[in-house]
């Protein structure tokens, strides 16, 4: 068992620990959480880190070909919630998830579910670019290779090339596929990680603050990429940048201290927030 990864689990756990000392009652979500024909439907999701109740009773849907942005102050549980969807929280000792997360109608926490195909369906991009210390080619080829998606080297190469093309990295790396992925710049590394995620042809892409370590130009590249990818995939993105949420997402969910405060169409939510906390947050009064 590994320790809680720095920057995701730990952050949420400590942040929510502070929150847990604030006495308060459960808060109902404002706005429509459901969509028609959802890809993912979460009902009454609760997450505990040991005794700490990190995420409270979340209900939310993710539609087909939709970008859903999760925003909120640090430690509000949005990353923790995101990691429930492909059960990455399994790797954190003492983490317990309750509730129902249906992906195409099947509960990811169900007894018959194997996490390996689940995670293959739900690609994930992490906050810190984490390419393998191998060549660029090997980074992208890893997923298809372990899942046995290709019959021969030609097909594998084709997948690598198309994945890099979709991730908008092909032009920059086509002459140096054998060089280590760790030698790329931060933005390139993150796009390499996206290429790696889409190489296994997932149905959903979960992104955990993918641009937090990147400069504005690299951020813009990745945002454009997300919009392109959303034609084929459902994307759920955790972000600290409200501008980013406003730029790329169709719907936005605002988390606060482990509660889902408000969900709405992105345009609506940023112009006419339905909850006082949402308004305070998006206008920069706290957070």
């Amino acid at each position: 068992m590994q320790n809680p990864p720095v920057g995701s689990g730990v952050k949420s756990a400590t942040g929510v620990h502070r929150a847990a000392t604030v006495p308060r009652e459960h808060r109902e979500t404002v706005g429509e959480v459901r969509v028609e024909n959802p890809r993912i439907r979460c009902s009454n999701v609760n997450v505990y880190y040991g005794e700490t109740h990190a995420v409270h009773n979340i209900n939310i849907d993710l539609g087909h070909n939709e970008i859903l942005a999760l925003i909120g102050p640090s430690g509000c549980g949005k990353t923790t919630f995101l990691r429930c969807m492909n059960r990455m929280n399994d790797t954190i000792a003492g983490c317990r998830v309750e509730g129902e997360i249906l992906v195409d109608g099947v509960d990811v926490n169900g007894p018959e579910i194997d996490v390996v195909p689940l995670r293959a369906r739900m690609g994930m991009v992490f906050q810190k670019p984490n390419p393998f210390p191998k060549s660029i080619f090997e980074n992208v080829a890893f997923g298809p290779r372990i899942h046995g998606l290709t019959a021969n080297k030609m097909e594998l190469e084709e997948i690598v090339v198309t994945s890099l093309q979709k991730a908008g990295l092909w032009a920059e790396v086509k002459d140096r596929l054998e060089e280590p992925g760790t030698g790329l710049s931060g933005g390139q590394q993150q796009r390499l990680c996206i290429a790696r995620a889409i190489a296994v042809q997932p149905e959903v892409i979960l992104m955990d603050e993918p641009c937090s370590a990147l400069d504005p130009i690299a951020t813009a590249t990745i945002e454009n990429l997300m919009v392109d990818l959303s034609q084929n995939y459902s994307i759920c993105i955790v972000t600290h940048s409200m501008q980013q949420a406003a730029r790329v997402s169709q719907r936005t969910a605002f988390f606060h201290l482990g509660d889902l405060i408000e969900v709405g169409e992105t345009n609506e939510l940023f112009i006419r927030p339905g909850h006082q906390l949402t308004e305070d947050y998006i206008t920069g009064r706290f957070g």
Partner: protein, 435 residues
């Protein structure tokens, strides 16, 4: 507080306080550096003393005084039937040839006592050298062979200046007559110091002039081979399971505490355990590298497990998340990403454990590897000695000539250790440089 402007004017600015403290800080730093240099100097000094002593004692062991004999291989004795048969060759009395040939150099020596004293100048290994030479080449029978044979250890010590010519004859190892013969041999060019090949190719012997390190080196090799083959996979597998798969609960805590404890258990305890379990219970033979390797495996395992766990811990969790996030199974994550990254650390830990095992003697004494073994072991089931035990045995021997051999054996052991530790550094450097 009543007059903020005044307070502000009187108060020292932070930069003044910082400047005032700089002298003290710099002094503390200089002091600390001095302590460090002093500690390193002291360490190097002791190391230098150790090396100077050992090398000073050892270097003479690499030369051995030899006597040139003209041996007439009498066909009447070696091949009475006309054709030299291997039976006759192997059972012939080579001692007589050696005695005859040294006597032929000093025809004046007549009395039985003198003949014995004269023969004593030639080391007993000469007989075996001669036999081997003849056995290897039966065509030599009938010819006169010029052969350099090792001189007795007393002659050797005299030549190297370790025993005295002066003093009363009764208290000397060599009599006046023997000294005279030695001088004459030297004058004839029949006595000289030559490179001591035997030391590197022979097994142990009661006679210092024939004793060599090769048997112990081979014994150490087989023992370490068994240790490596058993402890590396076991240690790495245990570490991987504990670090990557095992749930973190009270049981794994207990196991961790026990592993750390085992690393500190005196090695002789492992020797007793090996004696009780492997020899007395399982009935494995005594003094064999297999049992030695098993015992050293017990001793080395905790070291390897601890080092491997540390190496696994140092692999960033983001790599595991990346692999798991793509849908790799936990085993694929470990074998394809975590293990390769942790391997340099694991190898370093293993080599350090092996170096420890190479230098270990106490547990091997308990399982009988202290026995006097002349033959070079040919496998893990042959009785063998190991280098540190060989050092112990020689250090315990009364002959003066074993002193230099003890030091030489220590030197050989040190060389092996240096090679192994250098290998550890090299491996680490090499793997770290890859990306």
């Amino acid at each position: 507080m009543d007059n903020p402007e005044n307070t502000a004017a009187n108060a020292r600015k932070p930069i003044d306080i910082i400047r005032a403290g700089m002298r003290r800080r710099r002094a503390a730093e200089t002091r600390f550096k001095l302590y460090g240099v002093a500690a390193i100097t002291a360490g190097l000094l002791f190391l230098a003393i150790l090396f100077i002593t050992i090398i000073g004692n050892a270097y003479t062991a690499f030369e051995q005084t030899k006597i040139q004999l003209d041996v007439y291989l009498d066909p009447a004795i070696l091949s009475p039937d006309g054709v030299p048969s291997s039976d006759a060759l192997s059972s012939a009395d080579y001692g007589r040839f050696v005695r005859d040939s040294i006597r032929s150099l000093f025809p004046a020596v007549e009395s039985r006592r003198d003949v014995r004293a004269l023969s004593a100048l030639v080391g007993r290994g000469a007989v075996y050298d001669l036999r081997e030479t003849v056995m290897a080449d039966p065509d030599l029978v009938g010819e006169t062979l010029k052969l350099w044979v090792p001189a007795d250890d007393d002659v050797d010590m005299l030549m190297k200046g370790h025993i005295e010519r002066e003093g009363s004859e009764d208290e000397r190892r060599l009599s006046d007559a023997q000294l005279g013969w030695i001088d004459q041999l030297q004058a004839d060019g029949r006595l000289e110091k030559r490179f001591n090949v035997d030391f590197f190719t022979n097994g142990d012997s009661r006679e210092p002039e024939s004793a060599g390190i090769w048997g112990a080196a081979v014994g150490s090799f087989y023992t370490l081979l068994v240790t490596l083959v058993l402890s590396f996979p076991l240690g790495v597998a245990a570490a991987v399971y504990l670090e990557e798969f095992a749930p973190q609960n009270r049981w794994t805590d207990i196991i961790e505490v026990n592993i750390n404890n085992l690393a500190a258990v005196p090695s002789i305890v492992f020797g007793l355990l090996g004696l009780a379990v492997f020899i007395n219970f399982f009935g494995l033979p005594r003094s064999v590298p297999l049992v030695g390797g098993l015992v050293l495996t017990l001793m080395t395992l905790p070291t390897i497990i601890i080092a491997s766990r540390a190496a696994l811990k140092s692999v960033p969790p983001s790599i595991r998340e990346a692999a798991l996030g793509v849908g790799a199974s936990p085993l694929q994550t470990v074998t394809m990403h975590v293990l390769p990254l942790a391997m340099p650390g694991m190898l370093t830990g293993t080599i350090i454990g092996m170096a420890q095992a190479l230098g270990e003697s106490a547990p091997l004494l308990m399982i009988g590897m202290v026995a006097f073994i002349v033959d070079i072991p040919e496998g893990v089931f042959d009785p063998a000695a190991v280098l540190p035990v060989q050092i112990f045995l020689w250090a315990d021997s009364p002959e003066r000539a074993f002193v230099e051999r003890t030091s030489a054996a220590i030197l050989v052991l040190l060389c092996f250790l240096i090679v192994m530790n250098a290998l550890a550094v090299l491996l680490r450097k090499r793997f770290e440089r890859r990306w």
